[in-house]
């Protein structure tokens, strides 16, 4: 199967998405199909982990080994998979609530370990599945079922957060530009290490007018057009600071050559074996028998 050519259809499961008609996540799903096909990942060698949310339903719509786990835990789930089998291509995905609210504590630790995982957040600035509560990236002032007098807390800035964690691949896209998004996801999958992509994926049911595709298109600018140098971290911070105001699409920051988790683990195994190698059955004898 290696060397085969895959098409979108190879990644499409028989489950029909139950997203609202027009939901941005349809677009993200299709970009993921395309990106996987472009990279040529055999579906059975793909593990796709998510949390809970509308967006987190996404693994079920693919032919991957999917896991729609619990709210907020897609990243440690994905790391567990990758640790157990570094040969698998591993994707993690979910919503802004899943990723930056309940799951927010896992991001910087995923980054620290740098597993070769691509993490796609479908950032719709709202809790979709639970029907429209303000979320961590909701714009201040928004009136929602939990902020009836207008949201007062300032939003989380996912780009800044992930950049500040030291991530080697940080990108921003949106469903207004599926081609660009596909490329970005493809690049993320190919990137050796932890790749983060924040995708503005509109919630047509609970989202604000300003966050819908049409508006996204209007305010979007391509980083490529701005001659942004993705190796310039301070420039990346500057761009990231604009999150939610401007929509700069593309790779904000990229640094290659960071040690991957699997490499770290292989090195540890090498060191350990060098320090002493013996059969499993002798473990008590070697370690605990007095002599």
């Amino acid at each position: 199967m290696e060397g085969c050519v895959f098409t979108k259809k190879d990644y499409q499961s028989e489950l029909k998405p139950i997203w609202c008609p027009g939901c941005g996540d349809f677009g993200v799903l299709s970009c993921i199909y395309q990106a996987l096909a472009a990279v040529g990942v055999p579906p059975h060698r793909l593990a796709f982990l998510s949390g809970i949310g509308c967006s987190s339903r996404i693994p079920g719509y693919t032919t991957a080994y999917g896991f729609n786990s619990v709210h907020g835990r897609s990243l440690p789930m994905a790391i567990g998979v990758k640790v157990a089998n570094p040969e698998l291509t591993v994707l993690a995905a979910g919503g802004d609530g899943d990723g930056f609210s309940i799951g927010g504590g896992h991001i910087s630790h995923a980054v620290r370990r740098n597993p070769d995982i691509t993490y796609i957040v479908m950032d719709n600035h709202i809790y979709g599945l639970t029907k429209g509560q303000a979320g961590p990236t909701t714009v201040p002032g928004t009136i929602s079922v939990t902020t009836p007098y207008g949201l007062s807390e300032t939003p989380v800035n996912p780009l800044l957060q992930v950049l500040a964690s030291g991530c080697g691949f940080v990108a921003q896209g949106g469903t207004h530009d599926l081609k660009g998004l596909t490329k970005m996801i493809e690049e993320g999958i190919r990137y050796k290490g932890f790749a983060f992509i924040d995708v503005h994926s509109p919630c047509v049911t609970y989202g604000r007018e300003e966050d819908q595709s049409k508006e996204l298109k209007a305010k979007s600018e391509l980083l490529a057009d701005l001659n942004h140098d993705p190796s310039d971290k301070i420039a990346a911070y500057r761009i990231a600071e604009e999150y939610g105001k401007k929509l700069y699409c593309g790779v904000l920051y990229r640094k290659d050559g960071l040690t991957e988790l699997a490499t770290m683990h292989k090195q540890v195994q090498k060191n350990a074996k060098a320090a002493g190698d013996y059969p499993r059955d002798e473990v008590f004898k070697r370690n605990f028998l007095v002599h």
Partner: protein, 585 residues
Amino acid sequence: MKVKTLAVAMVGSGGDGVVTSGDMVLNAVAEEGLYAIAGKSFGPQIRGGESSMRVRVSTTPVDNTGSGLDYLIVLNWRDYHRFSGELNMAENGVIFCEADPKVAMEGVPPGIKAKEVVPVEFQKLADAAGAKRAKNVLTIGILSALANIRKERFLSSLDKKFTKKGPEVLEMNRNAYNAGYSLAKSLRKETWPELEYAPSAPKMITDANYAVAAAAAAAGLQVFAGYPITPSTEVMQWLAVNLPRFGGTVVQAEDEIAAMAMVCGASFAGAKAMTTTSGPGMSLKAELIGMASIAELPLVIVNVQRGGPSTGLPTKGEQADLNQALYSAHGDAPRPVLAAYDVLSAVRLTFEAFNLAETYQTPVVLLTDAFMALGKQVCELPDLANKKLYPVSYRKVPTAEELKAGYSRYKRYADGISPMSIPGTEGGSYLASGIEHDEVGRPISDATLHHVMNAKRIEKLQPIRKRADLVLTFGDADAKDALIAWGGSVGPAREAMEILKAQGKKTKLLVPLLVAPLPTESFKAFLKGVERLGVIELNYQGQLAAYLRTELDLPKATHAIHRSGGAVWQPQELVGRIKETVLAN
């Protein structure tokens, strides 16, 4: 007086080397081929501060630290008070204590319970032996003479330990040892107990944390994820050093939830996976334990129980997490629960935990506690090569035909066990989830199908009840007075039973290594003809006793014998409790 078992202890300050002494005694004992069990206690300080160590030596295997001390060495009376509850003396117990009040901080407390109190100027004696900084070795000399453990053994240990530090250091330590030995020999009386034994093959020394860690490695553990927490951290620490030797991986997670999620992911990916923690971490894992249940993930969770609730008593053992082990997580999510009572049972049950997990595709909880995790035991080496004693199971994966026929992850077979396809297998892709699902794995919300899937998951575990080998019984099979004990209460309960027997009271004891699903038939067989029953455990509420009632008709005269943890049961304490309850009229 010649005896077969004997308990000694030492208490002192940070600088007194109490812990090192304890380790040296244990080592000598193990080399002599004796058995032993040891416990340590510390003050709340991270470094320095008071500490006590306690060793019980025996010519036969021993799994509890006993009732009273035969010999206690007090280097410092002020430190003694913190541990006084743990340092009670046997009826004939003898205390050696520092005579110099400047060193001892305080004088002998009035009304101290011991047959004899022998004040000795340990420090001055050490100084006199030219061993100013080897007071602890001097006390070892004393203990060795009192307990009658061969001098040669200690001297050769000192050789091994100090030769590399140069002849002067070695000489100093030998002198200290000899000074203590001679002193004790000269003071000891005929009526004082001393061991009678013949040296035999050396034994191993370990604790339940290392036992679990090493057994897991031997049972095929591939991915371990954990987060430090007292008293479980040593499992992770041992594995961090050793698991990579066997090609396995240890991840220190950012918290217990992440650790549990990693283990779930690893299991999904096909690996044998384990996490260890203590109560607070166990509470955090509840949600994902439920997910492992509904997604049918094989994995092992070890809870090294400490005193609770909440942060509780982090360095002390308790058996108060049974309810949590059985019932945490929302929904109907039962899981097998195993309970070890000493090092060797921990080894065996670690294998069982993996085997049950893999065979039944379920999370399995293994309970140990702080006492066995932090206190060392000298015992027989487990023969891991014997695959009858230590079998290793693997999960069922789909056959090529099953894959070809169209794979359904949760297909219902008669035994409820569906083959689990491993990512990377062509034709075996599926969606795992914590959402209720049909046989294929598709999300559903239909009540009838939900019931069917609940039934699949819960009924598949029922055959485990038949594991009569995971129920131990001791004592007179036809006794009408019976005891049940679990976990850390087993050793003391067994000894209490023996003491009662010596007093002419016939009892028997059942020990459930497997607590859930309850091996009801084994219990029923045991309870047949039993008129009075005591259920022994170390928690405030009597959690096992309550749980047993949910599954069994217990005798009318059933007594829950329990108290909070923080200190182990002493067999004599249990004898008293049993007499007041089970054996009272």
